[in-house]
Symmetry: C2
DNA sequence: TTTGTACTGTACCGTACAGTTTGATATGGT
DNA sequence: ACCATATCAAACTGTACGGTACAGTACAAA
């Protein structure tokens, strides 16, 4: 890593990290990079936003790329942590799926969640490792969570997946919950999906899965 | 528009357009913009790729933005045209859905389809109108196609959607077909999904929908 | 008091980029 | 022969950017 000042260890960004000014820089970089992507962002914007001199930026981060990497990694761990706030009670599968979907969408459709997706995808050619990190921190973790839930429901006989693997069902669920609303928001950033729209979508998705795999209760 | 030379009207790009050199420029711009996005692409790269002088570029396009706009619009119409190659026979819904999914994925997971998605999303803040165009040319058109298919199946009693609207079902289908494989490819550009992986995914998706909405035949 | 460290502000360097201008060449129609 | 058009190569302008250098300040520990 590239920090120098080890006097404090405040963790607002994922790992144990960074004294005062360095944190300011990181937060500013977060704002700028998520808003403009890598190429269109300038170190001057970051420096100005952080209220810090140019020298300070380069005292803590070797260059623009290192700063970008630090930001995206930090966002990924924050994203994963947010996902782990999802809790559910066993039984009442239909309700649990709905809650899970809504909580997931809360994270995915948040300004930072959306921006992280956009930037990670946009820069996947220049920063392949970051794109991998993003996939594992986001979609992969989500699918794992759902799979765990479904495993419980499967054991209690609440559901029957036929020939389809449990993991595949979980993967399909998270993708279906996310994709359309996320894409709409990405392409129409000025008109975010309404609460009613979200509700309708979640209902439709949960209904689809319950009809397909739910036993008799439907 | 911004063409000047009206001697020929070759249409390789969507609308009636562009004499020889201008087309060369547009094709080069397509390659460069789709590979690097807007900010990281330079007009010099385009000029070099086109084998054309700088003056010629600016003789046909007012500036970098106009060139970018022309490229994305042209790609969107090409995308839509590719989608309309999807044909299907009524009856045999399950098979038709599978064919449709595979053809759709062919377009979406093609290098240019993937790059178009990436760039349109990445630049949606700077070029909102292009993002809208993309959404309408891609996801919206696809959903419309599937909806038409489902309408036929619904009338012949092949399926029963319960409380869910036909359009919602169509929308869910195209999203589910696309999202996971597309995201994997976007984040792991060096290991595209294998044919087997695609096949498994399509089978799982079609099975899901047939279990949920298909009548007795399953 | 001295020393080290973090930081500031600003100037600077080299490069890169979008876009313009100039002046020459080639072509084809009149 | 003349002219308009399309093209070319290349030099040039102005600006912006990433990154460095440097002289100086604030502060705390020794």
């Amino acid at each position: 890593m590239q920090q120098r000042n080890l006097t404090e260890h405040v963790s607002l960004s994922g790992e144990t990290e960074l004294s005062g000014k360095a944190l300011k820089v990181l937060q500013a970089a977060r704002k700028v990079f998520l808003a403009h992507g890598f190429s269109a962002a300038t170190t001057d914007m970051i420096q100005r936003e952080a209220g810090v001199s140019k020298s300070t930026v380069y005292a803590h981060f070797t260059n623009k790329e290192a700063l970008f990497t630090a930001v995206i990694k930090s966002e990924c761990t924050a994203f994963t942590r947010a996902l782990h706030n999802i809790r559910f009670q066993p039984g009442r599968l239909k309700e649990t799926l709905g809650i899970l979907a809504r909580t997931y969408l809360d994270v995915v459709l948040s300004p930072s969640g959306l921006a992280l997706y956009r930037v990670a995808i946009a820069e996947s050619a220049r920063f392949p490792a970051l794109a991998h990190t993003f996939y594992r921190a986001g979609p992969q973790v989500s699918a794992r969570l759902v799979a765990d839930l479904l495993a419980g429901a499967s054991q209690s006989g609440e559901v029957n997946f036929g020939d389809t693997s449990l993991e595949a069902v979980a993967c399909m669920f998270v993708n279906l919950v996310r994709s359309e609303l996320q894409l709409q928001y990405l392409t129409y950033p000025d008109s975010p999906p309404s609460a009613a729209q979200i509700e309708t979508w979640v209902t439709n998705v949960v209904t689809l899965f319950m009809r397909a795999y739910g036993g008799g209760d439907k």
